[in-house]
Amino acid sequence: MRIPAYTALLAALLLPHTASARADGDPYPSTYQPIADGVTVIRHGTVLIGNGQRLEDADVLLRNGVVEAVGKALDAPADARTVDATGKWVTPGLIDVHSHLGVYASPGVRATSDGNEVTAPVTAQVWAEHSVWPQDPGFAAALAGGVTTLQVLPGSANLIGGRGVTLKNVAATSVQAMKFPGAPYGLKMACGENPKRVYGERMQTPMTRMGNMAGYRAQFIEAREYLTQWQDYQQALTKVGKNKKAEPPKPPKRDLRLDTLVGVLKGEIQVHIHCYRADEMANMIDLSHEFGFHIAAFHHGVEAYKLADALAKEHICGALWADWWGFKMEAYDGIQENLALVDRPAASCAIVHSDSAEGIQRLNQEAAKVIGKAARVGIDIAPERALRWLTENPAKALGVAAKTGTLEAGKMADVVIWSGNPFSVYSKAEQVFVDGALLYDRHDRARQPVSDFMLGQGVSP
């Protein structure tokens, strides 16, 4: 039976610039509702806007869930919550483009291992959101680290692992209630050692890097054919028009896997590729040209510094660790200045990502490591520039930069108040606002979420 919503989705696919139709065709829609929490004015802080700008002794006014204004001596209603941020730093909420919270939840037992559908090298049909366990205690820990938005991705065993989902970091009983409204889906792909190891050991393709490439290409060839079938069907429908006597055309059989890949071809799904080596990133760039899609970000990119200029030219973000290396051959060439070198060209897009339930709690400290190492080689990176790696740039990679990632007026009031310079190891996120609601306060237990799982774990006589 044909689902009416799907027809709308298809219309969207066929008309690349009608963005609204995608939401209409979304069968698992966001039910996220911002929490009303009054007006807040944060005064006298060192404010990092998130786009490279910095204001001293500035105020930030949050009203109706958005940043209303940033500047000096802002007017605020008498009943506004007033936070004295003298000596404190104020930033947008941090954004992690690479998390497995909820899909590899704590505790790490078999039952919570839901991140990798390691049953075939291509599983574009799976959606990470259907694995997300909202009670993962890692979400609250990330919130205490200032993270307000995160993309949860499937794992990297597969060439094409499935759809990622962008979440607002709010406590909820369903993933739908966390889904970032209007955020595009992400697609997780993986280069290199993982797919060839996992499937090669099973004596099946891909067993080699050339097998990897052949695997992606075969999928996108199929996706193009599938797209053509639906286009032909649409044309036939139009031809039949309102002629009730004509036999209606038969729609092609719907394929979840190819639906996702067609979304990529249509530019509606952001492509995120786990890829370590420079030569493999170059191959993936050619793949994107061959099939006409854009890569939002290479993730991990341990060798991204070797082709920083190419990434900037292609408008591909480098979502990187500060210094992980050496755990496998494709991570052998890691350097601590990777982020700084990827950040160096004009129009660059360097991102600190975590891929870790520990790392997501300290994205600011990962950036601090890079600032320190860059200084050693004469690259001076100001805090306001480094902060872009945690805010504006990841927002771009996720396709949500119009909504969050900076403290510009009109954007979501996702804000962190830090006890000091966020790049000091001694600084902590003191208060975290999501859409204007104070959802974490280090000094107020009543504003610290505790997942169902953690409840009562400490009870003992």
Partner: protein, 437 residues
């Protein structure tokens, strides 16, 4: 609050500091291991704490004097620290540096022994397995860790499927790259326990105590010839017996109840115990303090990673320290390649209530004491090896870097394969590919 043994030792060093520090450096000809560092902020990691605007004189690779306005012979190289921090070389934690080159490549990975059999098949234990025999001092990981101020580590034997909870022996290594780096006679026995390893003990945590008990019995009294399923070989019995009453036994264990059981076992068997992991250590801090058992913990662990660590908290270090437990740091995860991350553990522990001096001690004197080399390493006091690090700023800040590392007074090259790669790609492209110098 204060650990008695450590107090006595450091007090006696303090006395020596006062006496020697007031002397002028004797006029002897300088060697490659002679050095005068002037005007440093000296974080001694000893009872005297931090000394401002202080000089450290190194002679023949050892610390010869500490004080103000020291005069050294003219041919002794002299460095003006200009107030920058000087610390002892840092502990990498318990790692596989030199025995774990590329973790995913079995041909480069020597940290664990497996036999291909797991209980309920016949269990085997090989405490005689010694990972230090696989140690490669020319490993890339050494310079990569060393330029970050890290000068010593404890090589660990690991437990993997098909192996055993008594993983074998490891040992302390100074990361100076010399072939004879492992300290003779300072082997440690590694035992790994917990729910994640119950596959090695008949699928029950209780089986781990059963197997430990059987192994210790076999070590005491050899099983009669022809006994069914002995755990140990004659060599294994010999090695295990050697760890009763002497040598270090490092037990990786996280759950509070298990920590107490291990403390009781160690007391009964007279083991010189160091606890590794201790994610729930703070729950039994008083037991640890009373038993005078040091812990090496990952201070970033605050999630219930498993049902062994439901009570993990960022305040573990601070609470253990407050109870009087000697707290050192060691990472879980990939501690070998990421050894330089160890400072982040200290910084975060301090941000979560651990006093700064205890944070530094957890990277220096505490692990040195715990691993039996506290008389030689881990402090800036007269008589210790001059493994020293000059920092650009607060050594616990991640924006700070090690500016110079000395091992036994010798300046270490501040280069690694990673800095070579960095420099190759830092410069603008030339006419020839970057592969040309």
């Amino acid at each position: 609050m204060i650990r008695l043994a450590a107090t006595v030792r450091t007090l006696s060093r303090g006395t020596r500091f006062v006496l020697v520090g007031s002397l002028l450096a004797a006029s002897l000809s300088a060697t490659a291991q002679d050095l005068l560092i002037r005007h440093a902020t000296v974080h001694t990691a000893s009872a005297v704490g931090t000394l401002r605007d202080t000089d450290v004189w190194v002679r023949n690779g050892s610390i010869a004097a500490i004080g103000r306005g020291l005069l050294a012979p003219a041919d002794v190289p002299s460095i003006d620290a200009a107030g920058r921090p000087l610390t002892p070389g840092l502990f990498a934690g318990v790692t596989g540096i030199g025995i774990d080159e590329v973790s995913a490549e079995p041909s480069t990975h020597d940290t664990a022994i497996t036999f291909g059999a797991t209980p309920p098949q016949v269990a085997q234990m090989r405490p005689e397995f010694d990972v230090t025999l696989a140690y490669n001092p020319r490993s890339l990981l050494l310079p990569i860790a060393r330029i970050e101020g890290i000068t010593f580590t404890e090589l660990a034997a690991g437990s993997e499927p098909g192996g055993s909870i008594i993983a074998g022996q490891g040992g302390l290594v100074r990361l100076d790259g010399s072939f004879d780096a492992p300290y003779a006679g300072l082997r440690a026995l590694f035992i790994n326990l917990g729910g994640n390893l119950s596959v090695l003990s008949g699928n029950s945590r209780a089986g781990q105590y059963l197997l430990l008990d059987q192994a210790l019995r076999e070590a005491r009294v050899a099983p009669a010839a022809g006994s069914a399923n002995p755990l140990l070989t004659p060599a294994g019995r010999e090695v295990l017996t050697g760890y009763v009453s002497k040598g270090r036994v490092l037990v990786q264990v996280d759950r509070a109840a298990d920590i107490r059981r291990v403390l009781a076992l160690a007391q009964r068997e007279h083991l010189h115990l160091v606890i590794l992991g201790a994610a729930e250590g703070w729950l039994v801090a008083n037991d640890l303090a009373q038993a005078k058992v040091p812990v090496l913990i990952d201070a970033l662990e605050d999630l219930p990673d498993s049902f062994d660590s439901l009570a993990a908290t960022l305040e573990n270090a601070a609470r253990l320290h407050a109870a009087g437990v000697a707290v050192g740091f060691s990472q879980r995860g990939d501690a070998s390649h990421n050894a330089r991350k160890i400072r982040q553990l200290a910084g975060n522990a301090v941000a979560n209530g651990l006093p700064w001096e205890a944070g530094l001690a957890a990277l220096t004197s505490v692990p040195a004491d715990a691993l039996g080399v506290g008389d030689r390493l881990g402090r800036i006091v007269v008589g210790q090896l001059a493994d020293l690090v000059l920092w650009s700023g607060d050594p616990l800040e991640l924006t700070s870097s090690a500016e110079q590392v000395w091992m036994a007074g010798k300046a270490m090259p501040m280069r690694s394969r990673q800095t070579e790669l960095r420099d190759r790609y830092l410069r603008a492209p030339g006419r020839l590919p970057r592969a040309y110098p």
